[in-house]
Symmetry: C2
Subunit: 206 residues, 2 copies
DNA sequence: CTTCGTGCTGTATAAAAATACACAATTATG
DNA sequence: CATAATTGTGTATTTTTATACAGCACGAAG
């Protein structure tokens, strides 16, 4: 698949969103209006180029005969993140296991990404090794006591139950074999990577 | 939403599948060819009727300007079944809690319906009260020992781990507070309602 | 400097598609 | 039975839409 110029990427993106919103591919004239072209041929040549580079297919002699090569349903869904190295950003390319076709709105406040669970520290909350958590990440979010969160203590990512008493934060496991993580906010670096809003267990781990 | 005649339903169904397959609504001429009309007007009047009865919307002056009123993504997804009364068929309308926008293929052999779990008998397998199971129902399916199944013993629906030794079938809970169900195939009526292929936990039960 | 690819303008034109009008056979439905 | 709704045929006509051809400006590459 050939690389796109910025302009071509812009046009492809517009076609994509337009198709998702209207579930109807645009005509040359509609593209022309959207990008303020003064000639339908500008649209035509762009479409030809996008087709030649393999991003879409043109059915000739057909009104609105544009078919995106990437599956639109694949574009939706959520990224699945595997084991995240300490200190690295959650959604960095290298930690992505893939993309799952899950509707973000299924998890009611809405999910932003999926995280695969490692270990059994939350066993008694019904969260097992290999399970996939749906996580919502909101800037400046403050968890309620008792809520399950994805947190990062000194760079290390962990899933625990949140408890804060005055300035003392504890991250509680749900398994007697594990000990709570007591966070000293003056010494430790604590970041909240999101609240757990759902759980998914598929295939193998059942 | 007015009721459709059989012919109208047939035409609507064709439009639906056509749109799912091609992600492009049909023209009058295409409808005409598909149904062997000899006049595009036959297609036109049917579309008008379907629009008038509220099943779709026609954007006039627009090529392929057909927009289905039902969300195509809603048509997909799986039915969620709640508590099923003894002896009643699983997918009877009255037990449906709704439809969740979940891709059946997400659960690898493929799921046929969703079932809400009641009770804690499978707690130690990480299946909690209120969880939603993705279930695959295949005719003539024989479970492997150790597999989690949805079974029906004398009409009563239950989720348990399957174990068969010769002619003796046991349905094992995953919680020491519960006892195994020993099934006597000569006296008890045992039906397998499917194998559990996935689990979903959303919102409230977390 | 010349040539190529990109990103357009401007003008035409043929094909595709929507849509109107007139009329007929069949099937409900009061 | 009479009437309306459904399900069509057949023919036209206007819009939409795709698409060809002739150029122009600009930056990158050889």
């Amino acid at each position: 698949m050939d690389k796109l110029t910025p302009r071509q990427a812009e046009i492809l993106a517009w076609i994509r969103t337009r198709m998702l919103e209207d579930s109807l591919p645009p005509t040359r004239a509609e593209l022309m209006k959207a990008f303020d072209f003064r000639s339908p041929n500008a649209a035509e040549t762009h479409l030809r180029m996008l087709a030649r580079k393999g991003y879409l297919e043109l059915q000739n002699g057909t009104a609105r005969g544009i078919r995106l090569h990437e599956d639109l349903s694949e574009t939706m869904g959520l990224p699945l993140v595997g084991r995240v190295a300490a200190g690295q950003p959650m959604l960095a390319e290298e930690f992505r296991e893939g993309q799952l076709p899950v509707d973000p709105k299924l998890f009611s406040p809405g999910a932003d990404y999926l995280l695969r669970v490692q270990g059994m520290s939350m066993r008694d909350a019904g969260i097992l090794d290999g399970d996939i958590l749906a996580v919502r990440h909101e800037a400046g979010f403050t968890p309620q006591n008792g809520q399950i969160v994805v947190a990062r203590v000194n760079g290390e990512v962990t899933v625990k139950r949140w408890q804060r008493k005055q300035s003392k934060v504890s991250l509680l496991p749900e398994n007697p074999d594990f000990s709570p993580i007591e966070v000293d906010l003056s010494r430790d670096d604590l970041q909240i990577e999101g609240q757990v809003v759902g759980l998914l267990r598929i295939g193998n781990s059942l």
